[in-house]
Structure formats: structure tokens, C-alpha cells
Amino acid sequence: MSTTAKDPAAQKKGGLSDIRKIFGGGQSSLRQFGILGSLIVIIVIFQIWTNGLTLSPTNLINVVNQYSYILILAIGMVMVIIMGHIDLSVGSVAAFTGIIVAKSMAEWNFPWPLAILLGIAVGVAIGAWQGFWVAVIGVPAFIVTLAGMLIFRGGNQFIGQSTTTPVPQEFGIIGAGYLPELALPFNFNVLTMLLGVVGAGWIVWNEIHLRRQQKKMGSDSAPLWVSVVKVVVLAGVILWAAWLFATGRPGTSFPISGIILVVLVILYSFITRNTIFGRHIYAVGGNRLAATLSGVKDRRVDFFVMMNMSVLASVAGMIYVARATASGPQDGNGWELDAIAAVFIGGAAVSGGIGTVIGSIVGGLVMAFLNNGLQLIGAGADVVQIIKGLVLLLAVGVDVWSKRQGRPSIIGLWSGRRKARLETQAPEEAPTVAPTGQANVSSLPEDLTRR
């Protein structure tokens, strides 16, 4: 009986799988590879179509300013979706936090740092509320957050009397501020470039560290050229982007909201990949029963993931209010849908268990550049929506379709046998015990799976 999925075909054409390794290993890497490819294609198309406008400093800054809050939502949303939940309330939660923060400064004279703390506290409180209903009472997150969507939208309009509440200018820094200019004789923004250099350096160090570790453990590492290409490309992109941001219109540089985003992406990538909590998210999302039987407290994970989402929604809300210089009754309308779309385009599975923070950010950037590019060429909001919808459908459709090819299905039965041999996939275990309904359905307590 063949036991492994060692794939001689893939080893022979090692080139392609090595290229994939450039974007990291793991089960969803192929998908992410595809999405990153789409992002590059979209950017290139619009770069040509708009005569270079897409990758101009001003436009890039614009994209970051306009989409950073959606991307921040996507970070939390991917964790929610990995868990097999959904959060529809993020737009309303953002708006609710926005109005409270705005009121706190405008009417209660809070200094802006205190207002930010208040905003985060509001996020924690709302998150605890929603987490309570999901984790303790057991109401599906879809319902809890649908209710939250109504409650907090109404809350925003109740507190704000359905009018806009302006925020003081100094608060604007988190939404519309830039890295400051240093008094140095360079014709570019030094801090932005410095950030780029640090980022590129980190990429190099990280790859060296990874290779050293892989060597030590005897794990299979990619050929050296793959690492070199990976480092050069990634570091190059970062430095180039930094240069673009640093050489824009005087007074602008890399936006503060972008820095908040980058920090959050790094933080949450680390949490989801390297911490016990992160492992538990994937474990529960992938197989809740198996996770519980491995000692994971699934309800606790439910609670914190839902809570975290609301906190990030509050952060997004504050950034938006800062950029718009006021909190209004329609803030955050439809954000949940953009965030959810970003996550699914970025490779998360509808059934849970699969998804990454980076993937979702790339998915969000696909949406952002698509939106931005279409606006630059003068497409109306109507067309933009239609295209965004189609892209979402296409991305998930391709994913579902390709997955179905991978496993035996009614349609795949006739082609399945040949395909299986080609891929040398491990066959479904050949049972020595006849796979009677009895043996397979097993004597598991019949209600166990119904939890």
C-alpha cells in the first residue's frame, strides 16, 4: 500500500514547486501564489491603462489611506473565518466607536490619546458582549453579529443624533498623518526610506535564519537560488515601494495609518503562526471535535477571536474618523462585506480551518487596487461594484472547483482513477475490515457529532 503522497512528477518539474516555495510553504501556498500573481497582474494592467498613474507616489499613498482600515478589518476577519464564524457587525462597531471617540473629544474634552484608549476600551466591551453570545450562549456568530450590526449602527445614530461630529485636527494624525520629515539634506523622506531598509534587511535576515534552521534540522529547504530570488524580489519590492512613498509630494510620505497596518500585520501573523493561541484557532476551525478532544477549550477561542475582531473594528473606526475629520451616521457602511471578500479572495476556506493573515492582506490589496484602478480610469461606482462581485465569485469559484478536482467526486469518478495514479496520491485506505456501514459509521455515540 502506498503510504505517502510523494509526488515524483512534482519532483521532476521541481522548478515550479520551488518557485512556489518563494512564497512560503504550507498547504494553502498554491492558492496564495495564485492570488499574489493576480495582484501583480491587476497592478500591471492598471499601471499601463492609467499611463503610470497607479504606481505614482500620490496614488499609492491614496490607496493606503483609503484601504488601511479595510485591511485592518481583514486581519481580524480571517481569524473569525478560520474559526468557521463570520462577523457582520464590524462596520457598525467601527462607526459606534467613531462616534464615541468623536464625542469624547468634542464634548467631554478628552485629550486625543485618552480618546484612543477609550475607543479601544469600547472595542473590548463590544467584543466581550458579542463573544459572550457566541461562546457562552452558543448563538451562531452570524446571528450575533447581524444583531450587532443593527444595534451598533443604531447606537451610532442615537448618540450622534444622526449628524456628523467633527474631531480635533491633532487626532487626524492616525488617519491622515505621515512620517515626519527629518532636518536632513536629502530630497526624500528619510524615515520612510529607513523603514524600507529595515524591512528589506529583515527579509534577508529572516531567510538566512530560516535556511540555517532548516539545515540544522535536516528539513527540506528550497535550493539556494530560490532563496536568493525570493530575497531579492521581496527586498526589492519593499525598497522600491519605500522609495515611491518617500519621494512623493512634499509633506507626504508613508502614512501613519499604513504604519499601524504594518505593525498589526506583523503582530497578527506572528500570533496566528507562532503562538499556542494561533494554533488553537486553526485546530478548532479545522476540526472542532478533534481539537476539543486534544484539550483545546474551543469556547474560549471563540470568545477571544470574536472579541479581537471588535477591537480591530474599533481601531479601523478611529482611523477612518481621523481621516474623515468627523464621525458620521453612515460611517463603515458595507465594510464587513469588503473585509469578508478580502479574506475569501485571500484563500480562506468557507468551511473554516484555512486562511492566513498575509493572504487576506493580499486579497484586500487585490480589492483595493481594483477599486482604485477602476476609479482612476473613470469607471462609476456601479461598474466597480459589479466587477468586485465578479472577482470575489471567480476567486472562490476557482478555489472550490480546484479542490473538488482533488478529491473523488461523482463527476470525478471516471477521471479520478487516472488522475489518482498520475498524482500517486495515497489511496483511501484499503480496509481489511470491509467498509460496511457498520464499520464506517462506527459505534461512535450517535449524538457526538451533533454537538
Binding site: T4, Q213, A283, L293, T436
Partner: protein
């Protein structure tokens, strides 16, 4: 003159990839006869019934099926139902939210041009309920009925379709004494009305009481057909037919080094999670010594898994009473986390649903039950994870190019090794292994046995749940038998034989002296 049989299945052979589930099986059922099919778990009984009812369509098996004098080639269940064969599964196929009437006529609605005639349906439902002896309002939702009554509704549903042959797969497995008796009476009553039944059951006393003929299947072969009325057929006779195979040397040699009792369960009683009046485990007591492999024998639904899971941090059912003593101290395991902390490990019988996250990689699966062991301040040490996983890969000979591969790509045997590695990583003192060799080929089974024995050699206690008696006899040191949630016997493996075990697994004759 002999009457014509209602059903003849001639030399049915059914193969799955790599295994012959049925080989040249024949079955003859006479009209108005209750025909029992007996065999161990996995002998091929259900497969045979699936062939008959069209679950495995014509063409996927070889052999002939002759029903009421004509050869039939069913392509799906619907066709066999239309011909008059109804199968009633262990898992009931009723829709809980619908009423009795709606369920009875589901897919078979009395209608006039698409408009359902509920009044006529209800009148017929009342009549049918009377026939099966169920005294319930036909508007009652199924979810308000107990399992026994649901079973009667299933039969009523079959009667609507003018059933000629009723197949009952473990009909009384989930029923209490009264409901079972009622059901058996009903089957007898149907026989009086000319309806033949095929009954699969592990409860030999019931079979002995109602069956006219008994066909015994073992390892996919028909062994014999016994005529109950000819006399001489009793439980012992049936058991001999069911288990009568020699024990091959399929098990590694081992000299057990058994220490003192370190794990004891006393008077363990567990309630069914949804049906409080049902006790799935009743006052069971058992103990395990260091270095000992303790077998838990019992038939499907006897409560072995329920017992194991309820011990493992109360992951099944509602705890009613009982204590666990480990190393001389009473311990309370309210959740899985504390069970793991106290050195318990439970390897589920269902790798795919309960054992593994199939989306995950091998290395991440192996460390998943005790991440804290390789984490500092909540951050998992990747390189230690890889090292540990790779050590297990070598030690247990998990066949994979790399522990970075996904577990879904492994064969059953190798997946099982990953699950074993996962639990070995938690440093357990007691491993509860639930059907650890189910669905695994012979070679991998031998390796799993070797692993189990080496765990025992390290002084760990092992509780081995298995439906395969030869397996238990082959590697356990001592065997408990479980019947209807109770421990019925406690025999050193050296003194046990399949017949005696089967007897204790099918009746509550003696009380165990645990």
C-alpha cells in the same frame, strides 16, 4: 411442494479497493420468514444488505439477486423500495422537525396533481400506527418520540410502500427491554401477515427467540445456514459459527512485565447526553496495572466508546456517579485538559472526525495535544516542533517524505501512527486506544501492535478497545467484556476464548469481580 423463496442472493461477491468484503455469499429467504444474519463486526452483514437494497448498485458487485421469482438489478435504493424491499437502518432516517404523518409519507405523498391530501394521509397514518402498535397522535413531531417509537414510525413508513421484505439492521441496539420486546412482537406479527424480514442483530437471545433461519457470515463468506426449528440451535452454536477461525500469529511476541494497579475506575455511571433516562454506562468498575494491556470487548453500542470518552475528561454524556483513582489518589477530570494533565490519553476510533485536523501538517498534528511542552510564554518553538515530529517519524516509521506534509495525504495506517505519536507526546501514563487498527491493513496493524506493546513495556497502562476478538486475545493481558453499558466479565487473556467472550458480550450473565 416447497414454496418458492421470496429472495435468493446467489454467489454475491463485492470488492473494495484491496479487500474482498463479500466473497461468494448466498442467502435464501422464504416468504413470511424471519431470517437472521449473524457475524462479527465487519464480517460483511451490512455490506450484503447494501448490495440487496441497491446502495451498492448493480454492476459494482457480481452475483445474482432473485426477488419474488425475477432477477433484479437495482441501481439505487428507490428501485429496491419500489420492488418492495425496505431497509431500516441503525441510524434512523426520520426528519426530527416533521410530524409522524409527514415522515411516513415523505417522498410518497398522497396527492392530487401535486396538492398533498393531508386529510387522507392522516387517516392512513392512524391506520398504520395502529398496525405497528404505536399509540401517538400522528401530528406529533418525531423529535418528541423516543428511539423505540421512532423505529415503529420507520416500520410504518415501510408499510406504506407495500413492503414485502423488511430489512432491520440492529433494530434493538438502541432500545430498552420493553421497546425491544414490542418491536420483536411486531416483526412476528408482520410475519403473520406474510411479510418476510431479514434481521441483523448482535443480541443472540433475541435472534434465538424470533428467527426461523439464521445465516452466519464470517470474513465475507457464508459459513452456514441454521434452521432454528430443526432444533439444536442455541447461542453457543451461533457463537461457534461466528468466531470459528483459528488465531494466526499476527501478533508480535511479548513478555509482559506487569506492575501494580495504578488506575482504577469505580462504579462509573454515565447518562446519555440527550435521553437522560438512558444510562449508557452503568456502574462499571475496572482497573489497570502498570505495563498491562487491558482489553475492552463488546459489541457495537455496548458502551465501550462511551465509557472511554466519559473517563477522558467527561467528553461524552452526563456524568452521574463514579470515581477515578490514579496512583492511590482520587482524581476528578472535568475536562480534557485536566485529563491530559493527569496523564490520560484517548485515541479515538474515528481518526478523521475526532482524531486529526485533516487540514494540518504532520508535525503540527503531533504536538497539538500538548503545545505547552514546546512553547515559551505562549510562543511555539518551531524548530523543536520539527525535531520532535521527526523523531516520532523515525521511531514509529511514519512513511512520509517530510513531517511538513499534510496528514490528509497519509494512508490510514500512517495517520493512525500520527495520532499515536500525538498522544505519546503528551507523556501519558494511561492510553485508551479505541479501535486503533480499524480500517488499517495487516502490515500496519502489526506495527501498531508493536507500538502498543512498547508503550506497555515502558510501564504505561493501556486500555485497548477492539471489536476484533482475535486482536484482543492476541495482545491483551486481561479482558473486560461490556454488555449494555455494564462490565460483565473480567478474564485473563490466557484463560479467555472467543466463545466465552462472545457469551459475556451478548448477555449480562455474570457480574464482574473487578
Amino acid at each position: 411442494m416447497m414454496p418458492q423463496p421470496i429472495l435468493e442472493m446467489r454467489s454475491i461477491t463485492k470488492e473494495f479497493p484491496g479487500v474482498k468484503a463479500l466473497s461468494d455469499v448466498s442467502l435464501t429467504v422464504m416468504p413470511a420468514e424471519i431470517h437472521a444474519i449473524c457475524g462479527e463486526n465487519g464480517a460483511g452483514k451490512s455490506t450484503l444488505m447494501k448490495v440487496l437494497s441497491g446502495v451498492y448498485p448493480h454492476g459494482t458487485y457480481t452475483g445474482q439477486i432473485i426477488f419474488r421469482g425475477e432477477e433484479v438489478q437495482f441501481r439505487d435504493i428507490r428501485q429496491s423500495e419500489n420492488a418492495g424491499i425496505a431497509i431500516i437502518h441503525q441510524e434512523l432516517a426520520l426528519i426530527p422537525e416533521l410530524s409522524i404523518t409527514e415522515n411516513i409519507f415523505l417522498g410518497n405523498e398522497i396527492n392530487h396533481g401535486g396538492r398533498i391530501d393531508w386529510r387522507a394521509a392522516k387517516v392512513r397514518a392512524i391506520d398504520l400506527l395502529a398496525r405497528v402498535g404505536l399509540d401517538e397522535d400522528p401530528d406529533t413531531q418525531i423529535k418528541h418520540l423516543g428511539v423505540g417509537k421512532q423505529q415503529l414510525v420507520e416500520i410504518a413508513k415501510a408499510l406504506v410502500k407495500e413492503v414485502k421484505l423488511l430489512i432491520l439492521d440492529e433494530p434493538t441496539a438502541a432500545l430498552n427491554e420493553d421497546d425491544s420486546q414490542h418491536l420483536l412482537d411486531l416483526i412476528r406479527g408482520l410475519k403473520g401477515k406474510g411479510i418476510a424480514s431479514i434481521m441483523i442483530s448482535h443480541k443472540l437471545n433475541e435472534i434465538e427467540a424470533v428467527a426461523d433461519e439464521i445465516t452466519i457470515i464470517r470474513d465475507g463468506h457464508t459459513i452456514e445456514t441454521l434452521d432454528v426449528h430443526a432444533g439444536g440451535v442455541d447461542e453457543d452454536r451461533i457463537i461457534r459459527g461466528m468466531v470459528g477461525r483459528s488465531l494466526e500469529s499476527r501478533f508480535p511476541d511479548r513478555t509482559p512485565h506487569i506492575g501494580d494497579v495504578f488506575f482504577e475506575v469505580k462504579d462509573w455511571t454515565i447518562q446519555h447526553p440527550q435521553v437522560p433516562e438512558r444510562l449508557v454506562v452503568k456502574g462499571s468498575s475496572l482497573n489497570v496495572r502498570r505495563g498491562e494491556i487491558v482489553g475492552l470487548a463488546g459489541l457495537m453500542g455496548a458502551g465501550r466508546t462511551e465509557l472511554a470518552m466519559s473517563l477522558f475528561g467527561r467528553s461524552y454524556g452526563n456524568y452521574l456517579s463514579g470515581t477515578i483513582v490514579k496512583d492511590g489518589q482520587e482524581i476528578v477530570l472535568k475536562d480534557v485538559e485536566s485529563a491530559i494533565e493527569h496523564g490520560l490519553a484517548y485515541v479515538s476510533e474515528d481518526r478523521k472526525q475526532l482524531g486529526l485536523n485533516l487540514l494540518d501538517t504532520i508535525k503540527r498534528s503531533i504536538v497539538s495535544a500538548k503545545l505547552s511542552k514546546i512553547a515559551k510564554r505562549g510562543v511555539v518553538d518551531d524548530s523543536r516542533e520539527f525535531g520532535i515530529a521527526d523523531d516520532y517519524r523515525k521511531q514509529l516509521r511514519i512513511k512520509t517524505p517530510s513531517v511538513d506534509a499534510g496528514v490528509s495525504k497519509l494512508s490510514g495506517g500512517n495517520q493512525q501512527k500520527v495520532v499515536l505519536a500525538k498522544w505519546m507526546f503528551t507523556d501519558p501514563d494511561l492510553l485508551i486506544l479505541d479501535e486503533p487498527t480499524r480500517g488499517i491493513d495487516v502490515g500496519a496493524k502489526y506495527e501498531i501492535y508493536t507500538i502498543i506493546q512498547s508503550l506497555a513495556a515502558q510501564g504505561k497502562g493501556v486500555i485497548l478497545i477492539s471489536s476484533e476478538l482475535p486482536e484482543l486475545l492476541g495482545i491483551a493481558d486481561r479482558i473486560y467484556t461490556v454488555f449494555e453499558g455494564q462490565i460483565t466479565d473480567n478474564i485473563p487473556a490466557s484463560e479467555a476464548n472467543p466463545e466465552a467472550l462472545m457469551r459475556s458480550m451478548t448477555s449480562a450473565k455474570k457480574k464482574a469481580n473487578a
